[in-house]
Assembly symmetry: C2
Homo-oligomer: 340 residues x 2
Amino acid sequence: MKRIGRQTLEFGGPSGIPDGLPSILGRGAIGGKKEAAGPLGGDFHQTFDDGRLNTQSWEKAEAQLQKEAVSVALASAGCQPQEIQMIFAGDLLNQCISSTFGLLDYQIPFLGQYGACSTMAQTLLMAAVMVDCGAAEKTAAVTSSHFCSAERQFRTPLEYGAQRTPTAQWTATAAGCVIVGKGGRVKVLHGLAGRAVDLGVKDPANMGAAMAPAAADSIYQYLTDTGTQPKDYDGIFTGDLGMVGSQLLLETLKDNGIDLAPMHNDCGLMLFDRQSQDVHAGGSGCGCSASVLCGHLLNRMERGELKNILFCATGALMSTTSQQQGEAIPGVCHIVHLRV
Amino acid sequence: MKRIGRQTLEFGGPSGIPDGLPSILGRGAIGGKKEAAGPLGGDFHQTFDDGRLNTQSWEKAEAQLQKEAVSVALASAGCQPQEIQMIFAGDLLNQCISSTFGLLDYQIPFLGQYGACSTMAQTLLMAAVMVDCGAAEKTAAVTSSHFCSAERQFRTPLEYGAQRTPTAQWTATAAGCVIVGKGGRVKVLHGLAGRAVDLGVKDPANMGAAMAPAAADSIYQYLTDTGTQPKDYDGIFTGDLGMVGSQLLLETLKDNGIDLAPMHNDCGLMLFDRQSQDVHAGGSGCGCSASVLCGHLLNRMERGELKNILFCATGALMSTTSQQQGEAIPGVCHIVHLRV
């Protein structure tokens, strides 16, 4: 592994031997009913009609989503839990309890991560670093979100039926997990850990606007560090900026001489059909970009439709307390470069 | 870096060149009034009589503790913020807002960690891995806790004046930060990422009992992996098991043929004077073990009083929601081996 430019990591050691690169050995994308009914419904490995997944609470259901995602990913990698030497996991719930309780039974050394909705990129980045440097042969990266557990924790009781503003996004009920090791087809070539960026957006119903500056900062830095342009990639996927944040990102980068539009899509705009599924500005939540990556995007990479992508997951770093105390909402964006 | 045994990482590459090892370049230990009045008061780099640190809330004060800890650590390492290529940080507050807002101004690539009170060991472990493998030249690890922000989030409003049981611990108002790079006197030789261990303890006023099994699991595994015994170290410091958890740890390891007692101390028992400071079973909170490490322990290492220690920070992985839903309290313990 080596650093290139200011912030980017290049995997594979100085020689950059392809077989030595960290790669995706297995994966699992789990979704709820609404996600199954969306345009990417066929890309999930498993979906659940019951929002409680046969548990007694939404929080336990979210933990179950992570458990299922890991189970599917392990099976697709042909691995037992004891072969996984570290698991990187996090979620949106206070003290990341979906990860704690969802993964407890696997008994894998556990490193909790907190990156809000950027967690899939952050955990995958950490998992890839550990494999690349020999700290582990196999690692796992997993995250989740659940519409109902997020609503009642961050917003209002569901029963209250609060009206949502047009800029609001819909938290996905979903989870994604990848198993990282050497020898898989889809390689992790580069990674970038983003800086928290705060341009003063304070509206918690407009997370896209809060996160777009961080996405612009990280993508601009990544392209600068690697000396590449958007057209060098088959796709650059942010998650989850939604409609508002995506437009802001494209405008910001255009102002800086980068035309991202032809290559860009956003996981929050892909997961749901905004016309028919009433999700306002799009999907969000750790599970949104996680399940789009672990399902749809990696499916397309394995089919050869996409060969070279940037996965740029974005997170809004806030809590109800920070909101109540008048803080703005800093964003963060971590990037992983994947190639077949 | 290489793996030894089942879970332990050995830093320094196959050759183990001492100058190539990650090491402590600078550090900062910040405390509140009660911490300043305790037996380790003289070991802090900075203490504050005002629990609000001139801010408008306890949460903002906790963020300020992290900011100060990083500031002191940077100064003692002779570094500018832009030289730090990654910062690993976390805390107990929902969505880790002390880390987000405390570190925002530094503009360092930010990787949020969640390990509850084990966060200092987890962040230091991550920071050391990144330096060892060349992902970064210099990294930082920081965490904090604040008695008042923790009480009102996890327990009861302070104004309520709830009586505490004898097994309860007192959340330290403190923060600790280390700057990790190559060439410092105190080296990071080994690290271990722990598994979450749940033996069914459900009492949130007895975190020591909830975390002791994880401490036993990680310490037993570390000694097995490295083929060492407690007497090979000048000290083995857990944090923060308090009186109840420490006794359980010693008994559990004794039952497994390991006599930890002569070398063991617990950061939660060191930070406060239990006789005069009314902290019941001892100190706790991310900032407890963090400030004891970054102040007292590293002071003693630099004076040559301690040359070879294990720092074994423990965390209780729970939230108020998981408690209300009847879940037990899994513990986790991460270990870092430091030597002058």
